[in-house]
Symmetry: C5
Amino acid sequence: MLTAKVVDNIWSTRKTDLLMGRKLMLLEVIGGGSNEGERLVAVDDVGAGVGERVLVALGSSARRMVGDDMIPTDAAIVGIIDEDCEF
Amino acid sequence: MLTAKVVDNIWSTRKTDLLMGRKLMLLEVIGGGSNEGERLVAVDDVGAGVGERVLVALGSSARRMVGDDMIPTDAAIVGIIDEDCEF
Amino acid sequence: MLTAKVVDNIWSTRKTDLLMGRKLMLLEVIGGGSNEGERLVAVDDVGAGVGERVLVALGSSARRMVGDDMIPTDAAIVGIIDEDCEF
Amino acid sequence: MLTAKVVDNIWSTRKTDLLMGRKLMLLEVIGGGSNEGERLVAVDDVGAGVGERVLVALGSSARRMVGDDMIPTDAAIVGIIDEDCEF
Amino acid sequence: MLTAKVVDNIWSTRKTDLLMGRKLMLLEVIGGGSNEGERLVAVDDVGAGVGERVLVALGSSARRMVGDDMIPTDAAIVGIIDEDCEF
């Protein structure tokens, strides 16, 4: 998984029915690695807020998180990193 | 998903029958992250226009979007980002 | 899909039986994006020539292109970009 | 697989039930290649300690490592590199 | 597939039983592209030697190469590039 910070909500009115009702969040990769700063959009079923640090699963594993293998998402938040977890 | 801007149509007369009739669009990654500027081609079943900002699913999730797991695409537009959505 | 230019044939006499008889081409990513210049090898079932611009599907989608899910390829040419298609 | 060094534990109290009880480790890519320094989080079923060098499988192969295809992880430690293995 | 040069063997005594008996090789991406120099570890069922140039399949396609979809590898050598193949 990637470690990322939640930047903002992403709003998309015209989208596939398969993603209707899904909460989409813009994330930025954190962690001090050379991939820091990359951005992506993930489905959030965990209830993360803007500014929180999260774990993100990519690829087919993201579909395991949303509980339906027919959902066309390649990124999903799987957990919120504890506030007192330093890294 | 990646956030991207639609750059142009891509025309390919000699292609696999599996992609016949599919609308192919050249996209450029946006969003202010360090991956900004990467380019890719995606199938568009949503009806995006040149200049619009879109969400793109990659890998096997792209095949979920096109509704047929035998289609050899690794990228598909899943939604158009609202014009008033700032990020 | 990536946009790429065909650089050359790749010859591999000692390879898995699963790839015997397959045409393998060295490709270089084009398109003006920040990923330009990356190189990869793809199976070509479309009949692309050296110097032509092609569309390449990656990952499990490449196996959809070669028509056999047991073939161990992660890249396949899915179409040749029209000569008069500017981008 | 990637070669990586174990940087630290990652603690996430609020996470999907599917990852409950799993040991999550922050890793940093090593090996002298140009991808050195990238960071990611992986499930550890091998028992790696902080500072040890490990092999990491990504994508759907990570789910093979955790023994349950429904677990939403895209990275898993598959082995610990021997201390006297120089590279 | 990536083109890579075999750098060395990788030894891992403490690893998943699923990889026991597998030959693991450290590879470095070659080919003159911008991804040159990235390093990864792959299963070798082809019999490549240190210094040889090889083709590497990534992701789920690597599991096709090792002939068992339950093996947690995301990289496998699929062929050795002929010595007189220039690129």
